[in-house]
């Protein structure tokens, strides 16, 4: 019973960390209409940016998140506008493959500047809370709270602001949006900053959870992709639900199979969902 509860708690906590970059990934897809694997790079860039202000200036988790959002967003803007966008006429598949290359470039820039070592955030070590036989890390609870705050802020932006609504309009029907005087290129730039920024913020949350290195983003790429597909590509609530379902599934699967199969759960989830519900849990019929 405790093992099950512990798995549920762990799944919720790890799922919430994936939710942030997954929302970023799905927001990018909703506007740009191609899956950008460069998000892995933005996650790592954000992780290092947050780590840098934390260890260099002794700032806490919240400023580190803000810095990560800015760094991730700007790196996304540079990569998208500088390179990926030019490939758009060749089709979504081409841009998507190029985004894998962008990820490699970002990863190696980080490696060149910061080296390949594992690095940890400089935060006080907090003891785990114990509740019955279930252990919960205080830092993990903080991470959950931060993830909820970030996702809530994104929802607020999309639902209640003029540009948030415009972004959803472009995602729904770009031609009609243009008729209403909404410039899709401007909205795309905002979406890139938002999506890549969220990926960057997710990098800090992952770093706070464990440690970071230039491959931090690449390691979670499959989970992020699986969460977004699971929830329905392009659906922001879907990405959150998908991440939580995936986190829970991974942890629950560990009760039955050895830890080495953890990654397989992501693949199995994609396989299952694409077989039985191709549009994802909360996805729209026509993409």
């Amino acid at each position: 019973m405790d093992a099950l509860l512990q798995a549920l708690v762990n799944g919720l906590l790890s799922g919430s960390l994936i939710a942030v970059p997954a929302v970023g990934f799905t927001a990018l897809f909703a506007i740009l209409r191609y899956p950008s694997f460069a998000v892995a790079g933005y996650v790592s860039v954000g992780a290092f940016a947050g780590w840098w202000v934390n260890t260099r200036f002794g700032l806490g988790a919240a400023p580190a998140l803000v810095m990560a959002f800015i760094a991730g967003g700007l790196s996304g803007l540079a990569c998208e506008m500088g390179a990926l966008r030019r490939l758009m006429p060749s089709g979504a598949l081409t841009v998507s493959i190029a985004s894998i290359a962008v990820n490699l470039v970002l990863e190696n820039i980080l490696r060149f500047v910061f080296g390949n070592d594992l690095r940890g955030f400089d935060l006080p070590i907090l003891p785990d809370l114990q509740w019955g036989g279930v252990f919960i890390g205080v830092q993990q609870l903080w991470n959950l709270a931060l993830a909820v705050a970030v996702v809530a802020a994104v929802f607020g932006f999309l639902m209640f602001t003029r540009f948030g609504r415009a972004m959803r309009a472009v995602a729904d029907n770009p031609d009609l949006a243009r008729l209403k005087g909404i410039d899709p290129r401007r909205i795309a730039a905002i979406a890139v900053v938002l999506g890549a920024g969220l990926a960057g913020a997710g990098g800090v949350l992952l770093g706070l959870d464990t440690s970071i290195d230039p491959m931090t983003g690449y390691r979670v790429l499959l989970s992020v992709f699986a969460a977004a597909v699971l929830g329905g590509l392009g659906s922001v609530p879907g990405a959150v639900v998908g991440a939580l379902v995936l986190g829970l599934a991974e942890e629950l699967a560990l009760l039955a199979v050895p830890a080495t199969y953890r990654t397989a759960v992501g693949f199995a989830a994609i396989l299952l969902i694409l077989t039985f519900r191709p549009r994802g849990l909360l996805g729209e019929k026509a993409v």
């Binding site: 415009a166 009609l176 008729l179």
Partner: protein, 238 residues
């Protein structure tokens, strides 16, 4: 000289890509307070004409003025700013947004006036107020067309362009839509539309234009065109 005409389109030449031009020098004007309908056989370029006026199809010839202002060089957004509202035939609402969001996002160019104009649309079309929280894709065909028209009005246009507004509607919904167009026009808004229900559309139009193969073929008062035996035989199925 009296007030400038809401729309003057002269000698429009346009097409899609490298293929033959669809519009080969078609012209028309809309006078203040008019409903003007374009009819013609399939492929005559009726919808292309409307899209060319709205800035959605690139012109390779011709000149367009809106309220005396030359907008030929402007893109769709520039023409929307100049006072044109184009309501497309299909995909004319944001399906995954609510009715209220569809209206407010359509006021994107003028955020200060958006809230007031949304209330104006609710007053004009109470159905939209009732459905304000419904997703646009859950509306019936007739409701959707009304929403699309109300979205066009969100920019406070000086001329509204309707591309086959009754396409796919039941006869009753089509009648209601024509009623809505008349009511809108009675408040002073000029309307330029393309319609497949040509007789009904001409009956409510001040003037009509017949377009054939991308060129003007005939023009005249709407009801007169609707009764013209030659035009009935050619385009109106009897």
């Amino acid at each position: 000289m009296s007030a400038p005409l809401p729309l003057v389109a002269e000698g429009l030449v346009a097409g899609y890509g490298a293929a033959e031009q669809i519009l080969k020098g078609a012209s028309l004007c809309v006078r203040p307070g008019e409903i003007v309908t374009i009819i013609g056989p399939n492929g005559a370029g009726k919808s292309t004409f409307l899209k060319a006026v709205a800035g959605l199809v690139r012109l390779s010839g011709g000149r367009i003025t809106v309220a005396g202002q030359d907008v030929t060089a402007r893109d769709a957004t520039g023409r929307a700013r100049a006072g044109l509202a184009f309501v497309p035939q299909e995909a004319n609402v944001f399906g995954r947004l609510t009715v209220a969001e569809n209206l407010s996002v359509s006021g994107f160019l003028d955020p200060a006036a958006t809230a007031r104009r949304v209330e104006e649309q609710y007053a004009r079309y109470p159905m939209l107020a009732v459905k304000r929280r419904a997703l646009a894709r859950t509306l019936s065909g007739g409701q959707r067309q009304i929403l699309a028209m109300a979205m066009g009005l969100m920019s406070a246009p000086s001329l509204i362009l309707l591309d086959e507004p009754t396409a796919g509607l039941s006869p009753r919904a089509a009648d209601e839509l024509f009623e809505a167009v008349i009511a809108l026009n009675r408040d002073g808004l000029p309307v330029l539309m393309v319609e497949q229900h040509a007789v009904e559309a001409l009956e409510i139009s001040h003037r009509g234009y017949v377009l054939v193969s991308g060129r003007n073929s005939a023009e005249g008062p709407g009801p007169a065109l609707a009764r013209d035996p030659e035009i009935r035989r050619l385009f109106l199925g009897g």
